[in-house]
């Protein structure tokens, strides 16, 4: 990737190209450089968070305590979640937005390139702080990533570092999101109206809106924790007229939109890849846009379904139950549209398509278990069991993470000019698909049978499920190295991989990013392109119907 710009002569003479060495990456204002940095950072965090999950799975391989103390186990569950959510999935999607949004809407860069640099470089520092808490007195935060008081207030020296790390991640997310929104609203190529935008751009627009709306609320919530601990406020202390449950409300007002922040870009990716390999335009483009917007709206009024067992008034339980179940409608529209896009398509099954189809199947499983959890009386049994763990891992791993992997396979020929190895891509897919189900499917049964989450030990009747789950987790982790080597080989031209791909790497692919060279030159679209009717037609099904 580093040499991408060298491969093509520029039509203008005034570009000096980037600086050399480390300063290029520190000073860069280029969306492609920053996208690359975001993606390398995200996969580093996936690796670290993955190691933490292996500590968890190793400990749970058998009942009883074998490898770690319960205290450290709790640190691992907490840190695994924080690292994966804020360090892995979110920066992964931001990296993809960095690379693809300007190329998809036909502009030269994001609207605020220096702010973009700032948003990225906060992350390594914030996560150094967060992961550094593992070595402090009292250890890392161990009260769960949701940081519920009063438990989280018992954190040792790590506590203010946790709070400030969250603040810094919030700054990064908000600046990144403002950048994406402004870019999309202001910098589209002439002729690209809102309803002609690629769906990845649409879902990112909605995601960015959600980020700007809820990250400040999280910042407020953790600020209250900080003042409660150090400055004598009583927000979450009943003795002073506050309420610990109030934290849960504020947190989940952030937290529920947050789960859609982690899945809406995935919807956009899958809606981009499936039409390419089905060689049809996306079925129901408009309904996809409206469904995404509906999901975003509903995400603001369902937060308390995370708290059904906390003792809310009946009216609250009922409202949040019905509002939550409503989300199944727009989500169902989406799943229907993906399937209908494939219907009678000329399908081929390259690796990005395999991951996308797996996404449709496995995300839907996670969606259905979510529907079960939405029902208040049923949730009374499922709450805080491994059923919940299975549910959200189904939507996050074969959901969000598979979509990021699919996106990297799909676009890496455009980024580097070198195709990945299809054979090893398929091997990686099948190992991932098998092991991820091996990891998380048994957890449904363990949870329904009553195994609680966030415990290092369990009753012996859950042993078989946990053995299978642990084997799956180790297998999945190891399988990802195939992916990493495959992608690095494309980046750096290992194993004699040569450049020389056509602009439109995939014959069924449409959109402005496929009209520029592969690899994409360091600066693309310095003059706004005209968004041609044929590209618009291919993205938007309505025009096809007319033709």
């Amino acid at each position: 990737m580093a040499h991408a710009h060298d491969a093509h002569a520029h039509h203008d003479d005034h570009h000096h190209g980037p600086d050399k060495g480390i300063m290029r990456w520190i000073k860069t204002t280029n969306h492609k450089d920053l996208g690359t940095l975001y993606l390398f950072f995200a996969f580093t965090m996936f690796f670290i968070g993955g190691l933490m999950s292996l500590v968890i799975r190793a400990e749970l391989f058998h009942p009883g305590l074998q490898f770690v103390q319960p205290e450290f186990f709790n640190q691992m569950t907490t840190m695994h979640a924080l690292v994966m959510i804020f360090g892995g999935v979110m920066p992964g999607f931001v990296g993809l937005a960095n690379w693809m949004v300007p190329m998809m809407i036909g502009c030269s860069d994001l609207a605020l390139p220096r702010v973009n640099n700032w948003g990225f470089w906060i992350l390594p520092f914030a996560f150094a702080m967060l992961i550094g808490t593992l070595f402090m007195d009292g250890g890392a935060p161990a009260g769960g990533w949701t940081m519920y008081p009063p438990l989280v207030l018992q954190t040792g020296n790590a506590f203010p570092f946790l709070i400030f790390a969250v603040h810094l991640m919030g700054i990064s997310s908000i600046t990144g999101a403002i950048n994406v929104v402004v870019t999309i609203l202001n910098m589209r190529a002439p002729g690209m109206t809102l309803l002609k935008m690629p769906l990845f751009v649409w879902t990112w627009l909605i995601t960015a809106y959600l980020l700007i709306a809820v990250m400040p609320v999280l910042a407020g919530a953790v600020t209250m924790l900080l003042t409660d601990k150090y400055f004598g406020t009583s927000f979450f202390t009943a003795a002073g007229g506050g309420d610990p449950v109030m934290f849960q409300h504020i947190f989940w007002f952030f937290g529920h939109p947050e789960v859609y922040i982690m899945i809406l870009p995935a919807f956009g990716i899958v809606s981009t890849i499936i039409p390419t390999f089905a060689r049809k335009s996306l079925f129901g483009y408009d309904s996809m846009v409206y469904a995404s917007a509906s999901i975003a709206f509903l995400s603001f009024i369902v937060w308390a379904h995370h708290m059904f067992t906390v003792g809310m008034p009946l009216a609250g339980e009922l409202f949040f139950m019905f509002a939550t179940m409503l989300i199944a409608v727009p989500t169902g529209v989406k799943v229907f549209n993906w399937v209908a896009t494939m219907w009678k398509g000329s399908m081929t099954f390259e690796t990005p398509m395999l991951f996308s189809i797996a996404f449709v199947f496995l995300f839907t499983i996670g969606g259905f278990s979510g529907l079960m959890l939405a029902m208040t009386p049923v949730d009374f049994q499922y709450h805080d069991t491994y059923f919940v763990v299975a549910h959200f891992h189904y939507v996050l791993v074969p959901g969000a993470v598979f979509s990021i992997i699919a996106a990297v396979y799909y676009w890496i020929p455009k980024w580097t000019g070198r195709m990945y190895n299809e054979f090893w891509g398929k091997v990686h897919f099948w190992l991932s698909a098998v092991f991820i189900n091996l990891t998380f499917f048994p957890q449904h049964f363990a949870g329904l049978a009553g195994m609680q989450r966030r415990v290092p030990d369990y009753a012996v009747q859950f042993t078989d499920f946990n053995v299978i789950s642990t084997i799956g987790a180790f297998g999945f982790f190891v399988a990802q190295f195939i992916f990493i080597f495959n992608m690095l080989s494309s980046c750096f031209g290992w194993f004699g991989r040569k450049q020389g791909l056509p602009d439109r790497v995939w014959e069924g692919a449409h959109g402005l990013e496929w009209t520029v060279a592969s690899p994409a030159p360091y600066h693309t679209f310095e003059d706004p392109p005209q968004f041609s009717d044929s590209e618009g037609t291919a993205i938007h099904d309505e025009a096809v119907a007319k033709a």
């Binding site: 203008d12 005034h14 570009h15 290029r24 000073k27 860069t28 204002t29 280029n30 030269s108 860069d109 605020l112 390139p113 220096r114 702010v115 700032w118 470089w121 906060i122 520092f125 702080m129 203010p160 709070i163 400030f164 810094l168 908000i174 999101a177 403002i178 929104v181 402004v182 609203l185 202001n186 910098m187 700007i212 709306a213 809820v214 990250m215 400040p216 609320v217 910042a219 407020g220 600020t223 209250m224 003042t227 400055f231 004598g232 406020t233 009583s234 927000f235 202390t237 009943a238 003795a239 002073g240 007229g241 506050g242 109030m246 409300h249 007002f253 008034p313 310095e526 003059d527 706004p528």
Partner: protein, 292 residues
């Protein structure tokens, strides 16, 4: 600077590589690490706090100075202008949501926690076993009378005066804007100084009110949920007024240095938007924190 110099409005403005963002991050991280260490008595000492604060402030200054130079150098197209308009709007929206969290905490405490601690609805058992006899009426510092008895700041006293000051400042900045658009720079600068003065006066009265609350009313940050919500809401608002006043000051000095044109002055308008946002938040505070 490359394409930055292009005058053609069809072309994009892409800034050159810059060390500002990275340096700002270093400053911010040093600051928060210093503060975190201070909170946990880690003996890191005050050096990271000061170094971080100085680096951050210096870079913020340099960054905005750079933007002002690019703008005055004619590098910004109509598209960049729209970018800053959208960017500022969404930034203010994020600020609104930050305040929403604290307003939400206030409404939740008053509307739900008070009746529940008093045994309303299904919370009878909680009331009887934990806090028998507690009658939650607002203002409250909770059943344990955390922080001791206190009095509240009456709304129709200094807070009303501060409301009038901020509303007036909203008028004066609008007058300044009209003067700028009509090309009357001297008048604009006068109105701006009036706005800065009103902002500073507000802050002075707010500080007096805090001193009064701490010394005579026994109303402190530690006065239970009332003290928490009162000081966090008005305190964060006061911090925003401080920032807004500094921004007004910078804009005024830029006006005196000949910056901005009657038809192109988003730096001015962005600060005016921010000032109006601060104003609107105050009206919300006046109504739900002081008055009701």
């Amino acid at each position: 600077m490359g394409s930055a110099a292009a005058q053609n409005s069809q072309r994009y403005f892409v800034p050159a590589p810059s060390v500002w963002p990275f340096t700002l991050t270093v400053g911010l991280v040093a600051l928060v690490v210093g503060v975190a260490g201070y909170l946990e008595n880690d003996h890191i000492g005050p050096v990271p706090i000061w170094a971080g604060a100085i680096i951050s402030i210096y870079i913020i200054f340099r960054w905005f100075q750079g933007i002002a130079r690019e703008s005055e150098g004619g590098q910004y197209s109509a598209q960049v202008d729209r970018t800053y308009r959208w960017g500022m709007s969404w930034f203010i929206f994020s600020e609104v949501m930050f305040f929403a969290a604290f307003f939400g905490a206030l409404f939740y405490a008053r509307g739900l926690v008070m009746p529940w601690l008093s045994g309303e609805g299904t919370k009878v058992a909680t009331h009887l076993t934990l806090w028998p006899g507690f009658e939650g009426t607002w203002p409250s510092n909770g059943p344990a009378n955390v922080g001791g008895d206190f009095e509240t700041v009456p709304a129709f006293d200094v807070p009303l005066l501060n409301t009038l000051i901020l509303l007036t400042s909203g008028v004066t900045i609008t007058m300044a804007h009209h003067a700028l658009k009509e090309g009357k720079r001297g008048l604009c600068i006068l109105w701006m100084w009036a706005t800065v003065a009103l902002g500073a006066t507000f802050l002075y009265f707010q500080a007096e009110e805090y001193i009064h609350a701490y010394h005579e009313l026994n109303l402190t940050l530690e006065s239970g949920i009332y003290g928490s919500t009162f000081f966090m809401l008005t305190g964060f608002h006061g911090m925003h007024v401080t920032l807004g006043t500094l921004m007004l000051l910078v804009i005024t000095l830029r006006l005196m240095a000949g910056h901005f044109k009657p038809d192109s002055h988003f730096g001015f308008e962005g600060v005016a938007w921010y000032w109006h946002f601060v104003d609107v938040v105050w009206i919300g505070l006046f109504i739900v924190v002081y008055w009701l």
